[in-house]
């Protein structure tokens, strides 16, 4: 914030410096989920993270939110160390975490109300965001009355209404069908372009990662470290539904998949050995 005037280049939005995260079970066994993990996300940058299942992607995001603390290393947001939950962070959950007892508008109003806005203000903001995600007709529906895609849009509105400078997304669209997912991609890119937030987007879907991101991080099979980083030099604004037919896109996917495949295979081999 203040360093915007002092420093010539503002500090990166997110820095993970030599992070290690261990889980110790009640019986005393320890499991290292992330080891010597380094990552930097510049302001306004869209970073996608891919890696085999169970390698430690969600754990990494949890460290950035401040919900969990690293066992070693440091997490910095906008140049300052994380200390508890940071109000500048927004988080989109893999499974939707809407409050089932609140209707659509109440769900979206939750953030501003938690942050001390008045009811009238919160309502106005919520209506605005719900219009943007195309749900103005469903203000008083309850989550169970909506389709999966609609629920996802509600949770996006719920996250975006707080205008996070740092947006973390954990496989947010993996439960959606392909058509809805493409629509959500377009919406996400539009919102991101308007807001210029810094995004970390975790996914299993490599094409999704390449289509959306400026940089793709490939993680190793657990314990996760960064295996390689690819800069995606495709022009913006991108049309997600069309980009997948471009040669450049296909080349990126091929190269990164070669890289990722080894890790996925390692991870499966370990899982079957353990079983």
């Amino acid at each position: 914030m203040s360093d915007r005037q002092t420093a010539p280049a503002p500090a990166p939005a997110i820095e993970l410096i030599n992070i290690t995260r261990r889980f110790v079970s009640p019986t005393g066994k320890s499991l290292t989920a992330i080891r010597d993990f380094n990552m930097t996300v510049e302001r306004g940058e869209f970073v996608a993270v891919v890696g085999p299942t169970g390698c430690g992607k969600s754990t990494t995001l949890n460290l950035v939110t401040g919900l969990a603390k690293p066992s070693a290393g440091e997490v910095r947001l906008m140049g300052a160390p994380v200390n508890g939950i940071d109000p500048r962070v927004g988080f989109a959950f893999q499974k939707d975490a809407l409050f089932p007892w609140k209707n659509v508008i109440e769900n979206v109003m939750a953030g501003p109300l938690f942050r001390g806005r008045t009811k009238a203000e919160a309502e106005k903001m919520a209506k605005d965001w719900l219009a943007r995600v195309g749900l103005s007709k469903f203000l008083h529906h309850y989550p169970h009355q909506l389709s999966g895609g609609m629920r996802k849009r509600v949770s996006l509105a719920q996250t975006f209404i707080n205008e996070p400078e740092i947006l973390l997304m954990d496989e947010p669209f993996s439960a959606l069908d392909v058509q809805t997912r493409t629509v959500m991609h377009e919406e996400l890119l539009k919102l991101w372009a308007e807001r210029q937030a810094s995004v970390v987007f975790v996914t299993h879907d490599l094409e999704e990662a390449v289509a959306l991101a400026d940089k793709v991080y490939v993680l190793t099979a657990g314990p996760a470290t960064v295996k390689s980083v690819y800069t995606i030099d495709l022009p913006r604004p991108r049309v997600v539904s069309e980009i997948r037919y471009e040669q450049g896109f296909i080349d990126y996917c091929k190269t990164i998949w070669e890289d990722l495949r080894q890790e996925v295979e390692t991870s499966y081999r370990r899982a079957s050995e353990a079983a």
């Binding site: 939110t65 975490a97 409050f99 007892w101 209707n103 942050r115």
Partner: protein, 292 residues
Amino acid sequence: MTDTTMDSVSTLFRPGTSDKEIEAAALKAIAARKRTVLFWQVTILVAIVAIWEIGARTGFIDPFFYASPSAIGSRLYEWATEGTTEGSLWYNLGVTMEEALIGFFTGSIAGIVVGVGLGQNKLLSDILSVYIKAINSIPRVVLAPIFIMIMGLGLASKVALAFIMVFFVVFANAFQGVREADRDMIANARILGASDWKVTREVIIPSAMSWIFASLHVSFSFAIIGAIVGEFVGARYGIGQLISIAKGTFDAAGMFAAIVLVMVVTLVAEYLMTLVENRLAKWRPQQSLDTH
């Protein structure tokens, strides 16, 4: 229920049938089914009462022990119009209800507060769990004589018994409900900016609510049990006292009359509670149209 309606719709379906007709047919099928259910409910009640009455009159059932529906009815009428040996029926009913209701409300509020509080504090609940199990293993009614000894024959001892019976049920459910609250949902609320208190009020309590309500249903009858058992053991007024006196005079009709009264009161309370619950839980998907 669904398959009945499905059946009737599909049998009624002809090419060219409009949505309106299908809906009308489905509604008709639902109404018909409701009538069938009600018909059999009433029929079974009438049959039981009739068999009881006929049995009592023919001597097949000994009316000395089992009374008869007509005797119970006339006893209730007599109590309602002329009063009981212990004063007016309504006064006695009022005494029992007062004990039960005070016990019910204080017990459930305390149960919710302690359950929600302890449910969120892992260390404290680990420490206290052994004591809770121990106290929980005492059959609560054995406390009646102790309460009466300490608090006397009046209101306080009955309220205490009703309270303790209600408290443990509600507490256990609130505690479990809090434990089951979705981790991600709590994390979501925190990241959206909720303080600890807001998380408790807006996430943890609502998600424990279905557990709590399930316990409130049973615990009203527990409150009544507490009040009546307390009155058995020692009281001057109340339905339990009426039963106790009827027992002393071998008055089977009187005992059954008191039981019928308690049954009606509990059913009414249950009904009111379902109404409140349906209002509060209108967000729930499994809500069906035909809850009585």
